[in-house]
């Protein structure tokens, strides 16, 4: 059996209004990889993530997740996702950090099951991984952008996923915290969590990832930063 956790073959995608967003994409990722996706606005980076997450359906081609065709892939606990909109939540929402991280257990527990003592321990462990245990009882809206992003990472980690997917996780985070944030991601990668990250900041991710791909309707591996001047890159 292949150790590829994502295999995409000849996938194309277009929305109903006939605009081709992705064309003939071939891409794969192995367990333990830390992969970065960069590219211009509207280039299809987030759409590619949504295809991998099963939120969009490809028009043609095949996608396999953990050696299973995406249509049959049910083990949602293996993948955790931190959305671009994660920190665009309502700041006044009355939820503590602990409660937000507990949300990450919803899929693994299943409907009708309640949070128990062992789950509280898992929440504590996840917060420990992102150095946020001392904020467990704080309301999430009272934290800084960087701290909130760490909480969302903890929410993603609490179900012990094998693959962590992040879409523009550093938007709204100051420069000092961006650097700390990528150090945290590298640490998680060393703990055998595979990472797939979309970022507009090629320079920031280049020092941490194992592979970088440039997505702009098509996809290609970046071997050298000089081939991709920064003005062609941007967030989506």
């Amino acid at each position: 059996m292949s150790d590829k956790i994502i295999e995409i073959e000849d996938v194309s995608f277009q929305y109903d209004y006939d605009k081709t967003v992705l064309s003939h994409i071939n891409f794969s990722m192995r367990a333990g990889d830390f992969v970065g996706l960069v590219g211009p606005n509207g280039g299809g980076k987030t759409t590619l993530l949504k295809l991998i997450l099963g939120l969009n359906k490809a028009n043609n081609g095949t996608i396999r997740i953990f050696n299973t065709p995406i249509q049959e892939f049910k083990d949602k606990n293996k993948i955790a996702y931190v959305s671009q909109k994660a920190n665009a939540f309502n700041r006044g929402f009355p939820a503590t950090v602990e409660e937000v991280v507990e949300m990450g257990l919803t899929a693994s527990l299943g409907i009708f099951k309640r949070i128990k003592k062992q789950h509280k321990l898992a929440v504590y462990e996840a917060l420990k991984k992102v150095d946020m245990t001392s904020y467990a009882k704080e309301n999430i809206g009272n934290l800084s952008g960087g701290q909130q992003q760490r909480v969302f990472i903890a929410r993603a980690l609490v179900s012990e996923p094998e693959l962590l997917i992040l879409d523009e996780p550093t938007v709204g985070v100051d420069q000092q915290n961006v650097s700390n944030f990528f150090d945290l991601l590298s640490k998680l990668n060393q703990q055998h969590i595979s990472l797939l990250i979309v970022s507009h900041d090629l320079q920031a991710i280049a020092n941490h990832v194992t592979n970088v791909f440039f997505v702009n309707k098509t996809i290609q591996a970046i071997d050298s930063l000089e081939d991709y001047p920064l003005f062609t890159l941007g967030g989506e």
């Binding site: 997450l53 939120l55 949602k76 996702y81 959305s83 909109k85 994660a86 939540f89 309502n90 006044g92 929402f93 009355p94 939820a95 503590t96 602990e98 409660e99 937000v100 507990e102 949300m103 257990l105 919803t106 899929a107 527990l109 409907i111 009708f112 309640r114 949070i115 009882k137 704080e138 309301n139």
Partner: protein
């Protein structure tokens, strides 16, 4: 009043029903507020009013008493909730549009039924603002059944509903059936509105769902604590509102809501005062 409570069945029914709705209205209201659906409760209460007017019309014109205004209000409320859902799906980009549409439909129908009946007597007034003497034993049992249903559903799908309220995209990725849960939630809201109308009245029912939460949010840390505080405040307001209503011979809807407003204003004032004192202490520390 305690003696009257022991002596008169209707007062006992009212108080027991009040305690039940003092629990379920803020419980569901906590989710309504964080999902920014407070106005939806208002729209549904106006549809309930149309149902009540329809029931009263039926009673007056045909003498049919099997479908009481309580039942017709309940029915209209649930049907209204399904219409709101349908409209929200039709206007995905302008989902809030469903609220004025349903609200105005409710008022329009109410006016029509009232006109057809050539006006109503004090009955309608008690439905509008609540009454300390309007709850029958049967009403009390229906409210109890509604409360049991609400509690079972909310406690069963608490974490799904919480995630859906906080982050709908993440909920969808986790495989939570958002549409099904949302439809259940709106039907529950309709049931709670119908259950609460005998005590607070249809025009003030949304206040009992949202005002305790508005207060709870200011005091609590986290969502569970918000729910607990909201329920405690809801219970307190119903008990005090009913006592005031009984002694002043006024509809309890008004006294309950005014008590809640008073608590809210006091807490906002106290927090403002505390913040100002803290700021001035900090300034003097810096100077010193």
């Amino acid at each position: 009043m305690l003696a009257s409570l022991l002596e008169y069945d209707f007062l006992r029914h009212t108080f027991i029903t009040g305690i039940i709705i003092g629990f379920i209205a803020p419980l569901l209201g906590s989710f309504i507020v964080v999902r920014r659906l407070s106005m939806m409760a208002d729209a549904l209460s106006h549809v309930t009013l149309a149902g009540i007017a329809f029931g009263l019309l039926l009673e007056k014109k045909t003498g049919i008493t099997a479908i009481t205004p309580f039942y017709s209000g309940l029915g209209f409320s649930v049907v209204g909730s399904l219409f709101i859902e349908k409209l929200r799906k039709l206007y995905t980009a302008f989902q809030e549009l469903a609220i004025p549409v349903i609200l105005s439909a409710g008022v329009g129908l109410s006016v029509l039924f009232i006109a057809l009946a050539d006006g109503f007597n004090a009955d309608l007034y008690s439905y509008l603002f609540g009454s300390v003497s309007a709850v029958s034993k049967q009403d009390m049992y229906i409210v109890l059944v509604i409360a049991i249903i609400v509690c079972i559903v909310i406690f069963s799908i608490y974490k799904e509903l919480f995630l859906l309220s906080f982050d709908e995209e993440q909920a969808t990725i986790n495989g939570i059936p958002a549409t099904v849960i949302h439809t259940f939630f709106i039907i529950l809201t309709a049931l709670v509105i119908a259950a609460s109308m005998r005590i607070v009245g249809v025009l003030l029912v949304s206040a009992l769902m949202t005002l305790p939460v508005a207060i709870g949010i200011r005091l609590a840390k986290g969502f569970k604590q918000t729910i607990i505080y909201s329920i405690l405040i809801g219970e307190l307001s119903v008990i005090i509102g009913l006592i005031i209503g009984y002694y002043l011979e006024m509809p309890p809807g008004g006294s309950i809501v005014l008590f809640l407003i008073l608590v809210l204003v006091s807490i906002i004032g106290a927090q403002h005062f505390k913040r100002r004192r803290l700021t001035s202490n900090m300034k003097s520390d810096v100077r010193g």
